[in-house]
């Protein structure tokens, strides 16, 4: 619409004139200005309550803002320094927005008792143990030493061991000697137990 069209729409102007007739005839009551001045006087007398709550509110808002900004700055300083490279290379996704895909897995129908049995079943001994046990069964438990060389070897070994013990004791390593004795004892016991187990298993079979 242009300024030149201002004088157009005569029908619309007429309609507005008719519509506003009542408003044009309106008059103010005689005491209108007196009442207005009275209201103004009352307003002036009233203390300005607005400021009573306005300033504390501004103060609270400003302190909250300050705390917030300090928090943000502090956070940024902490996160900026160590992992600049990591930040450029990785895309972080929040756990809320991340799309999670869950693979459907069938429910396990394994009998729990069976499972426990399987778990605690003793493994079968290796074959060479079985063969050895068979041989030992056939052979006498205490091997007879017939060879003089073997006897000599054993005697030499015993002597060496005894000498070592003596030497260690002499060197003041009594504790070491004791430790060695204990370990030897444990070892021999272990060997005996292994033999017993092997024999028992072969018997079972």
């Amino acid at each position: 619409m242009k300024k030149s069209e201002l004088h157009k729409d005569q029908g619309l102007r007429l309609a507005l004139q008719r519509k506003n007739e009542a408003a044009e005839r309106m008059t103010l009551s005689d005491d209108f200005t007196d009442r207005l001045m009275q209201r103004i006087g009352q307003q002036d007398k009233q203390p300005k309550r607005r400021r009573a709550w306005l300033y504390p509110a501004i103060g609270i808002a400003a302190s909250i803002l300050l705390l917030f900004s300090v928090g943000i700055i502090f956070n940024n300083r902490q996160s900026d320094q160590p992992d600049l490279i990591a930040k450029t290379d990785t895309i972080k996704t929040s756990p809320q927005t991340e799309i999670k895909t869950v693979k459907e897995q069938p429910l396990e129908t394994v009998d729990s008792v069976k499972k426990i049995k399987e778990k605690y079943r003793m493994p079968r001994p290796p074959k060479h143990y079985m063969a050895k046990a068979e041989v030992e069964e056939e052979a006498p438990t205490a091997p007879e030493l017939t060879d003089e060389n073997e006897l000599a070897e054993i005697a030499v070994a015993e002597e060496v061991r005894r000498m070592e013990m003596q030497r260690m004791a002499q060197m003041g390593g009594s504790l070491q000697a004791e430790f060695k004795a204990i370990t030897d004892e444990i070892r021999s016991r272990g060997e005996r137990m292994t033999q017993h187990v092997e024999i028992a298993m072969s018997n079972e079979e």
Partner: protein, 199 residues
């Protein structure tokens, strides 16, 4: 009650001095300003508020608001009258919305409004026959209150668009396009009302 209103430089100068004295503490002088503009404000708010009591209350509210905001008035931006009319415009809209919450307002889609050609709208709104004017009156009442006020400021008061922009706090370009839109809307409503009457 004084009825003189002046936009002459001397009157404006006097008014500026008067306002300065009021702001300096001579509160009673506001009575002069109230007497000068009260009826003008009443006529403006009365266009939206038909009840004379309510219109008078709105006028009181307008002048009280003007008194409270007097310190913010800038004579370089607008005359006191225009500034006061801005307050009256907003007060009238506020009162209208408080009073008529369930008023029937015709709102139309732009696409529908585009179906009516400009020359047809011109013909409808230029028609001064009684029946058409009566329908137009009815159609104006179905507009939004701010659109009604805009029509009045432009067609009835013959105010320049710059002044209307100051009163309504809208851009001049917006006001032109809004007026165009209101004209189409009125034309469409008149057509609808006529077809309803024929049925």
């Amino acid at each position: 009650m004084e009825k003189e209103t002046g936009n002459s430089p001397r009157a404006m100068q006097d008014e500026t001095l008067l306002i300065r004295r009021i702001l300096d503490g001579q509160t009673e002088l506001f009575r002069q300003l109230a007497n000068r503009y009260a009826e003008q404000v009443l006529r403006m708010v009365g266009r939206l508020i038909p009840s004379s009591e309510e219109a008078e209350e709105a006028t009181q509210d307008t002048l009280l608001e003007a008194y409270q905001s007097l310190g913010r008035y800038d004579a370089r931006k607008a005359s006191f009258q225009t500034w006061l009319m801005r307050i009256a415009y907003h007060t009238a809209l506020k009162h209208y919305r408080q009073r008529q919450k369930y008023v029937t307002i015709v709102d139309m889609e732009q696409q529908w409004l585009d179906t009516i050609p400009d020359n047809e709208a011109d013909a409808l709104l230029g028609d001064t026959t009684n029946d058409r004017v009566a329908l137009m009156e009815k159609a104006i009442g179905m507009l939004k209150p701010d659109d009604q006020m805009l029509l009045n400021l432009y067609y009835f008061d013959d105010r320049p668009i710059r002044e209307i922009a100051c009163i309504t706090e809208h851009e001049e370009s917006y006001l032109y396009s809004r007026l165009q839109w209101i004209r189409k809307k009125l034309a469409m409503t008149i057509k609808t009302l006529e077809s309803n009457e024929e049925k």
